[in-house]
């Protein structure tokens, strides 16, 4: 009973959102042709999933996002650390990071196509780019908020720079790594369509592109809903995984 209620609570926001969607449609505020009804969208998702192609598309996109996110964070974490930790590195890298993180992925597509081609590498590279720059700044800011007392304590116990880094700084920045990863995850998904502009044969972004080429609004919505769904799922998994890393924190919101 308890669990059922819990489940109901979880669904509530989505039920509310879908209700609003219906209301907007029925209110006649917008041309009905420009806003497919929710059930049509879900039927579309169902239909496309049944024939299998859509699931493959979803899988391709999820894979790309995961790869981009993984490599992006793999680089963002140490670079964020270095910027926060070493004044020389900060001076040199910080301006470059702030320059490059603002560059729009779409504007980079011509360059990516030319230099990296049209394969998976190119697509993942764009997601990597987006994830890296979203993550690195959160990491760096988190880094710089560390209480120096802990570093001092570690030093007096004889920790080397490297030991301080991985025994003090890393644990203290885990919460920030989590934040950074969550931000990067969102940004990576949001960049997905742009990345699949690069000769997209498959992927949800490609499905959306494709549908746009024929103005199939229902399919576009189906693609958007699917992206949101997978993003939500990955975000939940991420939080579940990392929850036990944060037990030591005294938090206002548990």
């Amino acid at each position: 009973m308890q669990r059922l209620a819990e489940f109901g609570w979880r669904l509530l926001p989505f039920i509310a959102a879908i209700t609003i969607w219906y209301l907007v449609r029925w209110s006649g505020l917008v041309d009905q042709g420009l806003l497919p009804p929710p059930h049509a969208v879900f039927v579309e998702i169902w239909r496309r999933s049944l024939d299998g192609g859509f699931l493959l598309d979803a899988w391709m996109s999820v894979r790309r996002v995961l790869l981009g996110l993984f490599f992006g964070m793999l680089l963002a974490v140490p670079v964020g650390f270095l910027i926060g930790w070493n004044r020389g590195v900060r001076r040199f890298v910080d301006p470059l990071v702030n320059f490059f993180r603002a560059l729009p992925p779409i504007a980079l597509i011509p360059l990516v196509i030319v230099y990296l081609g049209i394969g998976e590498v190119a697509k993942v590279a764009i997601l990597f780019y987006a994830a890296f720059f979203a993550g690195v700044i959160v990491m760096y800011e988190g880094m710089s908020q560390i209480n120096p007392l802990f570093v001092r304590v570690a030093r007096t116990l004889g920790a080397t720079d490297w030991e301080i880094f991985y025994k003090v700084i890393i644990p203290l920045t885990i919460p920030h790594v989590l934040t950074a990863t969550r931000v990067a995850l969102g940004v990576a998904w949001a960049t997905l369509v742009a990345s699949e502009l690069v000769a997209a044969q498959n992927g949800i972004g490609a499905v959306i592109q494709n549908a746009s080429a024929f103005f199939q609004l229902t399919t576009i919505y189906a693609g958007i809903v699917t992206i949101g769904f997978f993003a939500l799922l990955m975000d939940s998994v991420l939080r579940a995984i990392t929850r036990n890393f944060l037990n030591w924190q005294d938090r206002v919101a548990q």
Partner: protein, 277 residues
């Protein structure tokens, strides 16, 4: 009072570095913003000394300790460790901080083990490390909490944990900033005796900051009375008791005499600080 040879250190210490002088403060000054904290402090610490700093709150004791630990640099003058200017912290000087600095992301056991798992201790065997950790968990009576996070400890338990971590790393030189402030009288005496035991058996040097005059006398062989801000060394008191001390000492006439003398000195400083305002 003839038991204590009291004199004021005004001129810089002799520049020659004699082999058993471990630390030299030479005419050290420090100002934070508009506020002068340390004003021309000079003193030596010899190998094997247990030296205590007592003085009014906010006078600059922690600042001086930080200089020796290598976290703060003097504005003028110098702090020498074995003849060399202190440039940074090191594992030769173990520090127990006034606000503990217990690592919140490690459990009690992991906190104590932290120092032992560092590169500097690579010579130590696994078994030895385990034993050391167990020993301090027992001595600090944290057995029930070995897997607890610091956020779930009481104030006194956190202080004991910080002590355990500092002792377990086994530095030659122990710097302790009010290490027993959050403990009840009984736990405190247990800690005193533990510390005296360690000093004795392992021939360490120690610097203690404390507000308890009794504690200072009971533990130290020399006590520096620090003035109100800006801090100077007002008086150095040599404690004449043998290294073998126990609780009975507290009731001896000499002890009570000395305590009274020290209290008066600190009281004077306090009064002075009040006047300054």
């Amino acid at each position: 009072m003839n038991a204590s040879a009291s004199f004021q250190l005004c001129e810089p210490a002799a520049s020659a570095h004699s082999p058993d002088v471990k630390v030299q403060f030479r005419d050290v000054y420090k100002t934070y913003g508009r506020i002068e904290v340390v004003h021309g402090v000079s003193f030596d610490i010899n190998e094997g000394d247990f030296i205590s700093l007592v003085g009014p709150s906010g006078c600059g004791k922690t600042t001086m300790m930080n200089m020796l630990a290598g976290f703060t640099e003097p504005d003028r003058g110098e702090v020498l460790l074995e003849g060399n200017r202190v440039t940074g912290p090191g594992p030769d000087r173990g520090v127990m901080f006034q606000d503990y600095g217990v690592f919140p992301w490690l459990t009690v056991e992991q906190n104590i083990r932290f120092g032992l798992d560092l590169r500097v201790k690579r010579g130590m065997s696994k078994e030895e490390k385990r034993e050391t950790v167990e020993k301090y968990i027992a001595l600090m009576r944290l057995g029930d909490f070995r897997d607890a996070w610091p956020k779930n400890l009481s104030g006194g338990m956190r202080q004991r944990l910080a002590l355990a971590r500092a002792y377990a790393a086994n530095p030659h030189f122990l710097l302790m900033d009010e290490p027993f402030g959050a403990l009840d009288a009984q736990t405190r005496s247990a800690m005193h005796d533990l510390l005296l035991g360690i000093m004795q058996s392992e021939r360490k040097t120690a610097l203690l900051i404390t507000h308890s005059v009794e504690e200072a006398i009971y533990l130290s062989n020399r006590i520096l009375v620090i003035s109100a801000r800006p801090s100077r060394v007002v008086e150095e008191i040599r404690v004449p008791f043998s290294d073998q001390r126990d609780r009975e000492l507290l009731d001896t006439h000499e002890f009570i005499e000395m305590r009274r003398h020290l209290r008066d000195l600190v009281m004077q400083q306090y009064a002075q600080q009040q006047e300054l305002r």
